[in-house]
Symmetry: C2
DNA sequence: CCTGATACTTTATGGTGTAAAGAGTCAGCG
DNA sequence: CGCTGACTCTTTACACCATAAAGTATCAGG
């Protein structure tokens, strides 16, 4: 986990909100811009993951040393903040309501899912002290805006947003980690599982007796992937869509309760 | 994120399942046991977080060098696996059904929540290639067992378990990260937020116009904490309980659909 | 033209996981 | 009994990390 929002707010927040610095300063001209550095850092993280994101790696990509970056950005944590907020700009900020709130939320969730898989390092940025950048607020405003149209009160809406966010994030994280593990170990999930289950059968011959529900759960109703998606990813994807529906049924109930209580 | 399940299954799985190694071997006696090492590692992680967990730190606690541990455990990743599964043993494996499945699931979720906060480093162990230890399976069996009693089919049950797990995990993670950030920076959340919001108002004076839903969401219906829990934690806690109810309403709908379709 | 702030590099510090090599210990065999 | 070789544990070493500190070159304002 990489911590965010650690820096001096007087310095990092203006960076995030791109408040232009007016002062004309002596000394050599800066050869780079903050955005160039942030883009390079995003490129590194996209290509090789958060673990490979080092000041050296970013500097190398720009023909500078690691230390050169410190004249643009206070420290690595603030750089991650900037990467995070810049990347979030990719997400749509409005959704059509033609099909009602439910389809709007579903496509929001699907967009977020794909976003997380496109930039899986984002999942490693801590949420506790959020990056208070403009795009962070924008994305929150977007979901909250859709759901507000259902007539839910603020008290009922907050947990809904929270549940939705955690669910999308958690589901995407599983896939992201699986992919990272696959490239890191050079082993697909299927071969990984195969090697494990063989040893497992040997070591825990009473498995079926000890964990009957798990065996039942696994044995039943698994549809194979239609395209060439790895089996594991396909399973998570299916579970994600179905789980989202369960959650939205819950939201439906909340809306009904709201209507009844007002 | 710390990756799990990376090791050679022939070596790490027997360790996890505590298959006794019978061979009597030459050379000096081992002065430690795997369990002692795992316990020391858990103590380090509990006290100082996953970031502070190093082979040197664990060795120091046992009066050994870092390298000495490698005769017990193949590598750090496998040590984390062992820590993970050993810690999971703390969780209850059965729940009373007196109040029906819903109260059982609620207290399961609450136990899991508290477990995550007690050992927040657990949240940084990757789920993609699960630690295939006995306790990992046990905890899964427990929830799945409760929910199976509702008559849900495997296809409908899988996404429910997934949604519940992700939600508890995600909610707990926010609190855990907040606490870690607080001790790391020596700054409570409240002072952190205060410092930020002051700068934010200055930098983004049009905030209310740009993010009306967020402002509405924040301004409405926040109950203050009764005890001395930090305000931020209290808010997450409240949202967690309410969100769980929304989710369980969704499960209720799934049960009804199951009954209708069979 | 000088002064001093700035951009960038070089070097250094204290940390990480773990490979490799060395020192001491002891079970089993001749 | 004494050797052999496997074993435990330590020491050293390597390649990395973020970043502090110091040095060098550059340029705006006085």
């Amino acid at each position: 986990m990489v911590f965010a929002g650690q820096g001096d707010p007087q310095r990092s927040l203006p960076l995030l909100w791109r408040v232009p610095s007016t002062a004309s300063r002596p000394g050599p001209k800066q050869g780079l811009t903050v955005d160039e550095i942030v883009d390079a850092a995003i490129a590194v993280a996209d290509a090789s993951g958060m673990a490979a994101l080092s000041m050296r790696a970013v500097g190398d990509r720009l023909g500078r040393t690691a230390m050169a970056l410190y004249t643009y950005v206070p420290n690595k944590s603030d750089l991650v903040d900037l990467m995070y907020d810049r990347t979030l700009a990719e997400l749509p900020t409005s959704y059509a309501f033609d099909g009602g709130w439910r389809t709007a939320v579903t496509s929001w969730a699907s967009d977020l899912w794909e976003f997380y898989l496109r930039h899986s390092w984002v999942l490693q940025v801590s949420q506790a002290r959020p990056v208070l950048g403009p795009n962070e607020f924008s994305t929150l405003e977007t979901v909250a805006g859709i759901l507000r149209s259902t007539g839910l009160s603020a008290t009922r809406l907050r947990p809904v947003v929270s549940a939705l966010t955690h669910f999308v994030r958690g589901s995407a994280q599983v896939v992201a980690e699986a992919r990272e593990a696959a490239t890191a170990t050079g082993m697909t999930d299927d071969t990984w599982w195969y090697a494990r289950s063989a040893v497992l059968e040997e070591i825990a011959p009473d498995f079926a007796a000890r964990f009957p529900t798990l065996v039942w759960l696994e044995s039943d109703g698994n549809s194979p992937p239609e395209d060439d998606t790895p089996y594991f990813e396909h399973k998570v994807r299916t579970t994600f869509t179905a789980g989202l529906d369960v959650l939205l049924d819950g939201v439906e109930a909340a809306i009904a309760a709201e209507a009844a209580s007002s």
